[in-house]
Symmetry: none
């Protein structure tokens, strides 16, 4: 067991409750096993080599627009990368929650980096990059 290490994590109480319920539903013996699996799944995705290929796609974000400075940060990031973002569609889900979908186009690695930055922003509850092609390299 000398390869195992221990660290502590701080999260919202309610989120921990939901994690534990999911662990039970998925049949995990303990939380650590579930979290190790999550980390591995994210590593696999993260390592996908996307390179310099021209791609199109969408970045889908859900966030609470009341979070301090969050919207400023997201808009700043988007303006800095406006050569990648065609435009953004913003839907007001309820009093607090926003669904924001960015139509993106550019070199795969640049798009991925932008998506990572947006999704990592504190207050973004969930985000996903969906990569498709610009259609040119896909025969009808």
């Amino acid at each position: 067991m000398e390869n195992v290490t221990r660290f502590s994590v701080s999260v919202d109480k309610e989120l921990l409750r939901e994690l534990d319920q999911m662990c039970r539903e998925k049949g995990y013996d303990n939380r650590s096993l579930a979290i190790a699996d999550m980390i591995r799944a994210h590593l696999v995705e993260h390592r996908q080599q996307l390179g310099k290929r021209e791609i199109a796609g969408s970045i889908t974000l859900v966030y609470d627009h009341h979070k301090h400075h969050l919207q400023d940060l997201l808009t700043d990031l988007q303006h800095e990368h406006r050569e990648i973002i065609i435009s953004a569609l913003h839907c007001h889900l309820d009093h607090d929650n926003c669904l924001e979908i960015l139509a993106v186009r550019g070199k795969a690695d640049g798009v991925k980096r932008l998506a990572d930055e947006l999704i990592a922003a504190k207050g973004v509850k969930h985000g996903k990059l969906t990569i498709t092609s610009t259609g040119r390299d896909l025969p009808g």
Copy 2:
């Protein structure tokens, strides 16, 4: 901050090292933020099996708008399911290819069925449903 709780996790040393490297590469301020994001992402996926749950998301399509009757078909389908589709963002990639992104919201199984129909339409080169949540059921 009384909503935050702390717990400890045991994982393989090497896995922790890789996690920390990914956190840096993705721009997270600390490990807890990254792990909270992973938990939320897995909760969203886990809940997708729950058919009647209210979800939000996007459907990303790439197609050649010159394909006979394709656009008529896609628009007909969209109008028939306008209770699910908040609106559609259409980007003109080049002379032929369209990137169309639908912002959607509704019961998971209905959204999935609509996505399947749109993606299966002859002439749609690539399509993907990205499911997220309406934000309400995802703790900060």
Copy 3:
């Protein structure tokens, strides 16, 4: 074609000449199509005085997203009136300036009031409400 009727109009010769030139310049196939479009456009405007009528339209805003608290204010206003706003299209014009276009739908007076509030927000450089109809009350 039994829904089409024919009537005659008397106008100044010079005005007719100018009308025909404008029709050519705008690309109309014939005078009747142009005049039908004018009638519909005037009907739309005429009905705007009718406060409770259901309308559709767009609110176009240009603003500098760096202005303190401006984006928070605009988003708050939009979430409070999300029964009117279908969704918002946000384009990043340059490092500072945003073009934001809201697709709106609702009772004319409510839409007008929301537009007034958004346009009056300190930092919005220019804004405009474009009222059209929901299509149902405009014969072909």
Copy 4:
């Protein structure tokens, strides 16, 4: 009266009925006077010299997507002018009617010409070009 000429117009019966009602409500003595006023109003707008100035804005269209070939025509036009159109927001108002809003940017005369073509397309019930600026030439 030798300056007056007479021509005939074909429009939808229901549209003529609505025209006559508007004429009464506005206090016109006859239909010809009302139509002459409309023509003059459109000439004034049409003649606005917009020139080569860089503008941003929106084109708002309402149309019935069931009209034969209309959507193909609108999409063809948009792809041909994709250097002007940032993207298009499409809202499904009811089973038949679409609200489509294009975010546009470019030289004023090119944008105006594109708007004229789209609005003149047979089956577009109502359309409007809203011109604003790119923000750069408007001091805060």
